[in-house]
Amino acid sequence: MRVLIILGRFILDFIEEIGGVSLLFWRVLQQGHLIFRNIGNTFVQMETIGIGSIPLVLVTSVFVGAVTSVQAAYQFQGYVPLYYLGAVVGKSVTLEVGPVLTALVVGGRVSAAIAAELGTMKVTEQIDAMEMIAIDPVEYLVLPRIAAATLMLPVLTVFADFLAIVGGMVVAKLAVGVSYNTFESGLRLLFRYQDLVGGLIKTFVFGYIIAFMGCYNGFMTKGGAEGVGVATMRAVVSSCLLILVSNYLLAFLIFRVIFAPN
């Protein structure tokens, strides 16, 4: 009996959550055009989300490229000529590692920051105060953040892809002994523009998810400081999970349907 009650409550909470997410999603869609009234705010957010994430992305991508290079060389041993090292690093970085890892590290940083900021505004009644002076919090707070994250994540990913490949290249020379020339011609050999484009299309969606889950959880904050902590944690967990799930769905859509191999 108790199990049923707990299960029932869980299902109700879940439905309520879906309802809340859909409602905010709908309002963002409906009011999307109002972003042009909030360009100033959007630029501020682009700076904090985009420029602010550069050091994190830099370190992450250089090391990820480096480790990809070393691991690939190890797996090639005796089977695949090292000539293909550049090809493998390039492929895995542009298709998968660049977009997803950038989204995950930026997602952790940005969705937490957004949820904490909006959550604090919520519990200190600043959101209500905004409503009271007839300013729509969705228009004023949510739209600029979503627009900024959606635009900046692809930019950060291009940056990350580049750094990861450079990282892989340097490690290939220093640790594996593959010259820059060899690495580069391997890279060129299998490079397809659609890999880069496909990878970048995903990041628009990831950027949206990151800002959206930050805002949604911020708005749902209840209670005081503890509630802000809970909201922040939920924002990070939910945006990371959604990134991983949507990554699969998008990969399927992009590489099995749009750029289908023939």
Partner: protein
């Protein structure tokens, strides 16, 4: 008294609200006259803030009607609600200043967003309101640099910057020292006289209630159980009200 000061400006009819299992408002009937200062008293957690948020449409009731100038705001969409709120000012319990903005930007924001004034006019109007609350020199400071009493006064300046018809105060004196509390009480009184506004003050500070109120109403267990002038309140025979205004642990209200 001018003409617009006759008849009720806000009416609540059978307003009910529950959160989950907890019934917070159990059928509120209340009329607020134009230009009067109504003080709603009640214990902490009895639903005073929830009641104020119903009047401004921040919370929708489960049942009942809320009329502003005879129009039912529970049926309003976002746009009409925003239009209505232009005539409202609210001082929140913690002042709710935007902490990413300076004091000046906080007070000026409603004008920046909704008026056709030039930057210079906006600045002058906002400064006038800051002067009204006795803080002409804090324009460039951030809320984090202000004391509790100063925050409330800035919040008050922001609440009245659009010259609203109605100002709502959520526990304006709570958490302030007695002298600052009196400063706020005097301000509420003088704003009311100078600007001809309707005020609704929610508080558990009985001294402040007597000082600013034309009329007192008591919210208890989700209902308005009493309403009268300060004199009537002081003479009432209602044991529940007596216990509250005298601040006794024993009586019909179970303290814990």
């Amino acid at each position: 008294m001018n003409e617009q000061c006759s008849g009720p400006i806000i009416e609540l009819r059978g307003v009910r609200k529950r959160f989950g299992r907890q019934e917070v408002l159990g059928g509120i009937d209340l009329s607020i006259g134009a230009c009067e200062t109504l003080v709603i008293i009640g214990r902490s957690g009895c639903g005073k803030s929830v009641l104020l948020k119903h009047i401004t449409g921040l919370i929708r009731p489960d049942e009942g009607r809320i009329l502003f100038h005879g129009e039912d705001i529970t049926q309003f969409g976002r746009k009409s609600l925003f239009e209505m709120r232009m005539h409202f000012g609210m001082l929140f319990q913690g002042a709710a200043l935007f902490d990413s903005m300076t004091v000046g930007e906080n007070v000026a924001l409603p004008l920046v967003k909704h008026s056709a004034m030039t930057d210079e006019e906006i600045r002058r109007t906002a400064l006038d309101k800051l002067r009204l609350v006795g803080l002409p020199d804090v324009w460039d400071m951030y809320p984090a640099q202000l004391s509790g009493g100063m925050k409330k006064r800035v919040g008050l300046a922001r609440a009245v910057v659009m010259d609203p018809q109605v100002v709502l105060y959520d526990e304006p004196t709570t958490g302030l020292d007695p002298i600052m509390a009196d400063v706020i009480n005097v301000l509420i009184r003088s704003l009311q006289k100078e600007l001809d506004i309707t005020s609704v003050v929610v508080t558990h500070d009985i001294k402040s209630a007597y000082k600013v109120g034309d009329r007192l109403a008591m919210l208890h267990e989700g209902r308005i159980i009493f309403s009268g002038t300060p004199e009537e309140t002081a003479r009432t025979g209602d044991e529940t009200v007596r216990q509250f205004i005298e601040g006794r642990a024993e009586g019909p209200i179970r303290a814990v």
